[in-house]
Symmetry: C2
Subunit: 191 residues, 2 copies
């Protein structure tokens, strides 16, 4: 089998390498020339691909930056295990708020929403949060903790208020607020 | 006093007229040429002002569209009075979701957030919701209803989950969801 045919038979491999190279180029150029000077041809040249590869895959610069932003928002580790749900959820909420409400977090959130006409990237942000909450809840279940909220309830009662305030109502966002939301959710009335 | 001096002594009057003319021009041109073809010079010409007036006041096209979007999101009437808090809040939440989750509502929300580097426009959206909730709560208080939530609690428990899902987790948003959030908030444990 010719090398070219091999490469085409594994599109995932090449595709993943292109994605990594382009994301790396965005990071490097953001640091070097600043966000406002980024262009698709500049990014493509740095990544060693053609501009049409970037346009074909991402659509335009804004969608590319949205994709890069969502990658930044992906959690790198499972939530810490503090031995009980109340502590796990409070610590996770506090860390989530700290990251999302930071200047880079706000900027990534904005990019994720902005270059995302079909809502897929924003959906990935929410899926990341849901996965982390699922880990915390499964752990609590495995410990034998009872009357657990479900993932959607935690999203409504803990994640949503923090995200709403970050985007629409800044001010008063502190670790105590995150912990209060988590505590109220864990203590919530459930049948 | 010369007419010119009179006009300069009432900057609010001229300022309000310019704002109205420019907003009207955006609406008319959106309908005629479509959103993608809007430019500041085109809008300024239609509004009968110079492009520099637009740039000076709004910064750029995106900020202007953000300002226009927030005006669209401003409620035109007080929430309906159904005689008790639970009914008032459920009906208000249902209407809020219906408006914000519609295609124009989503588009305005997006514009409001995106052309808003300092968060002022998004803050106005939240202030509109807070004012409406305040009307509902004051009415309940005047009726003698007790154990009322406060405005911030209603924002966290009713508005935030709807807005979070509209932006980050579409699907499953129906009137029953809005009513369920309102009912849980009214029934919530409070000292």
């Amino acid at each position: 089998m010719a090398p070219m045919a091999r490469a085409m038979a594994r599109p995932g491999g090449r595709s993943a390498r292109v994605q990594q190279a382009v994301h790396d180029a965005v990071h490097a150029l953001e640091a070097e020339v600043g966000r406002g000077a980024l262009t698709v041809p500049l990014i493509a040249a740095r990544a060693g691909v053609t501009p049409s590869t970037v346009y074909r895959r991402w659509g335009d610069l804004r969608e590319l930056l949205s994709d890069v932003a969502v990658e930044h928002l992906r959690p790198e580790t499972d939530p810490a295990d503090h031995g009980e749900l109340a502590a796990d959820l409070a610590a996770w909420a506090e860390q989530f708020l700290d990251e999302m409400d930071s200047p880079p977090g706000r900027s990534y959130l904005r990019d994720a929403l902005l270059g995302d006409p079909d809502g897929d990237n924003a959906g990935r942000c929410s899926a990341y949060a849901a996965e982390q909450i699922d880990v915390v809840l499964r752990r609590a279940d495995a410990r034998g903790e009872r009357r657990l909220p479900d993932v959607e309830t935690v999203l409504d009662q803990v994640v949503a208020p923090m995200m709403y305030r970050i985007l629409f109502r800044p001010g008063g966002l502190d670790p105590a607020y995150a912990r209060r939301l988590a505590a109220a959710c864990v203590a919530g009335d459930r049948q």
